[in-house]
Symmetry: C2
Subunit: 477 residues, 2 copies
């Protein structure tokens, strides 16, 4: 395919993309296919000879679309949102064309520099303490990670490296593995599975702190475990707080937890993967109070800030903590401006795409006000759904509705709710996933798509309510 054909095909693809997104609600949100459906639809081997573009493109509807879960359908209420916006798609096209691998400043200065400045822009939108900004003189700063999982892992590894150095400074004869065997990290019992996984990867103990009746970690709960663990000879070194947990969007009490961590020099990382985007609104910014105690902070603009995946924003107060944990610099990566920022020292992969272009396009084309309006609209839709649930005596709300997630269930057994969810998902009109809260099977209703409107919420509730009526009527009284 030469540039001339790309011009033609690219424009056709732009129309296909626009058609797909404009008409997405006409597609069934969750596919009907069974596992293994795709293999039989395409050849067993790659073709020897080149095929025509027409042949490839017609297979999109034949092979791919029947097996797609449409995350951007306004009937999609599962997991958490993943962002998709037109400015972001445009920026990603540019990113693909430039196709630089920005592992060092020299490998493409614009890639490194725009990223640093965009993370400053975003940090200012969130009103992060100045410590977290790079500016021209700062010791902190931000970086784009692929996912929150990677941010948590990087923070944990940086903390591990820091505590080992600290201990070895006093006890030069203590081996790294001996120290690691005593290390213990903490998170909420509601924290995302990736936090536990980070502990597995780093080879350190990871303990879950019990949460209160709001599914929130409180200071006294952490304090209690810290005392027990210190008494047992362990070395607490890392606490991952969650703002906006995956099951119920609960918030750990970082104003209590932060001072405890600071007092005993435990690295506090804050994972606000979903909720973080909301902090650009003054009315939600208090949820981030306590950030001043944190060593690192992360959230995913690719969830709720209209920047397509992957774009997980991470800030640290001291860049040197992160860079020091990983820096290995062979000659083929050295260049004349070594100190100008090598983001590859901040992350697991070496290579990196020019992802800050997406942030730049989205922030400018929406403006802060546009982004705030977007967040507020989603929260409003969640509140609307909450009201509908509360108005129905057969149902209960299972956790405070703070942002765009509503946790609810039929009053009754877990089996009843499991059956209801199965029927909802089998009907394929809308798509939800469950969670477990205090031993209860709960349905999660997350406002996800950019194009979700009140009528979709009303329709979804009508459908759920109808399925619930059917289900309850079948029960013996």
């Amino acid at each position: 395919m030469d540039a001339a054909e790309f011009r033609r095909r690219g424009k056709e693809m732009v129309d296909y993309v626009a058609d797909y997104l404009e008409n997405i609600e006409k597609r069934q949100v969750y596919p009907d296919v069974e596992p293994g459906y795709l293999r039989s639809l395409i050849p067993e081997e790659a073709p020897e000879e080149a095929e025509s573009y027409e042949d490839v493109v017609k297979d999109i509807e034949r092979v791919i679309m029947p097996g797609v879960t449409h995350w951007h359908s306004p009937y999609f209420y599962a997991y958490f949102p993943t962002a998709n916006s037109f400015p972001s798609l445009l920026a990603d096209m540019l990113c693909g064309a430039i196709g630089c691998i920005g592992f060092s400043w020299a490998a493409s200065p614009a890639c490194t520099e725009l990223e640093t400045v965009m993370l400053d822009w975003l940090g200012k939108m969130l009103k992060l303490p100045a410590d977290f900004l790079a500016g021209t003189e700062g010791r902190g700063g931000g970086v784009i990670q692929g996912t929150a999982s990677e941010a948590t892992l990087i923070a944990l590894l940086a903390a591990r490296s820091k505590i080992i150095k600290l201990i070895q400074a006093d006890h030069p004869d203590r081996s790294e593995t001996d120290i690691i065997s005593k290390l213990v990290a903490y998170s909420s019992d509601q924290a995302h599975s990736s936090v536990e996984r980070a502990g597995l990867i780093a080879g350190v103990k990871m303990k879950k702190i019990p949460t209160d009746n709001k599914f929130s970690v409180r200071g006294d709960a952490l304090q209690k475990v810290l005392e027990e663990d210190r008494a047992a000879g362990l070395i607490p070194f890392f606490f991952c707080a969650t703002l906006g947990t995956t099951p119920s969007c609960a918030f750990d009490c970082i104003t209590e937890l932060g001072p405890i961590c600071n007092a005993v020099e435990i690295w506090m990382h804050i994972d606000a993967a979903y909720a973080g985007s909301a902090f650009i609104c003054p009315e939600f910014r208090p949820l981030l109070n306590g950030i001043e105690f944190a060593d690192s902070f992360n959230f995913n603009p690719h969830k709720w800030l209209l920047v397509n995946f992957d774009c997980s924003a991470m800030w640290v107060k001291k860049r040197s903590d992160i860079i020091g944990a990983f820096k290995i610099e062979p000659l083929y990566l050295k260049h004349d401006h070594q100190e100008s920022g090598n983001h590859s020292h901040w992350q697991i992969p070496l290579g990196r795409r020019f992802r800050s272009l997406k942030m730049w396009f989205v922030f400018r084309m929406y403006g802060l006000k546009g982004l705030q309006a977007y967040i507020r609209k989603h929260v409003g839709l969640a509140k609307e759904f909450e009201s509908l649930v509360r108005a129905d005596q057969r149902f209960e709300i299972s956790a405070d509705v703070v942002l765009g997630l509503v946790c609810f269930r039929l009053k009754g057994s877990n089996e009843l709710n499991e059956t209801l969810l199965k029927r909802i998902n089998n009907a394929r009109n809308i798509h939800l996933v469950p969670c477990q809260l205090a031993g209860k099977f709960v349905l999660r209703f997350a406002v996800c798509a950019r194009t979700t409107e009140s009528r979709h919420i009303q329709e979804a509730w009508c459908h759920i309510s109808h399925l619930a009526s059917e289900l309850l009527q079948e029960l013996p009284h």
Copy 2:
């Protein structure tokens, strides 16, 4: 921006991308900017109000392009190639629009299934042993990682998890950290920095095996270190072989190393990040002989197989080894088809884009023959450059030219060669990076861009030769 505006702007962007790639050689390959150039060109904060698309787009040439290192310029000979092709760009547009997060089968069945089948297609192109293919019944299979760094880390972690379980099966009282403290992993002294980094992350010792005069690890060198380490009470558990090292594209002797690893149950991972693409050509496939001894294998189609970053292909013989090392499954990620493949258990991040679309488009639109022709063309260009160097008595070739990389230097001191490289890069006509081979400072000339032709090679050599003449004339005789 609504869909109607996206149609217009998307088509403009397609033209911008086509213009950029068609005319890329008119741009200076390496930018003139100094560190910090970008910050002063844009505001200090994101705008409150939305800006127009015109305002954003005109800043691409004003702000971004002056700081771009043009990796797809035919004057770019640095690092290794990163792929860029029109079919891949088209597929990525579709990937962005679908915007699914394929962390489980249910999260978008097409995303998981196409990936499994594409890795089988690619495995067959490479003539991988059947053990590495998923098929419908296989225990092996492939997955797309972001980068080779992640593949190495995942392999190392899987091997760590496997050896710990194995030892604890016999010695249930031995703690994980005690075992880890004795573990030792190995790689070539020419291996990529990411291998050393993987060891740091996993908290295990990582030793470099000395290479022979071809920069290749041989069986006896590994055997010697293994014996010493076992005698010292260490537990060797992982060897990362490199096929196509970053400094000189050297090949570890896996036909010797594989049987040694197999005999003593050391996990052998093969990193062929750059060279792997060439194995689709029958004449280069012998370089992969010995793959049958490996537990895992990885290379980057995003380097040399026309699939845009990120797309690093990894295969394992036993999926269960990888999955077992990481599987943590909370309720919100469970679904009815749990056993249908959750690629997120194979990788560090949880989220993942629909990256196999790029492979599908590229493999079909080039065909195997087209891809082979592409590899052969690049190798031919490298051979052409090698001939030019060899014909000039002032220069020497520093390592065998096997694929698309030529390592060369002026006969003379390291300082002389450092000066030559500095002048080459300062002139900005072409861009190269150096490496160190056996204590010598060496220039690396990697054929990178899709559009590089013989005339570019001739022009590059003419330029290098001219700068060398100038430099040598300045020297006192």
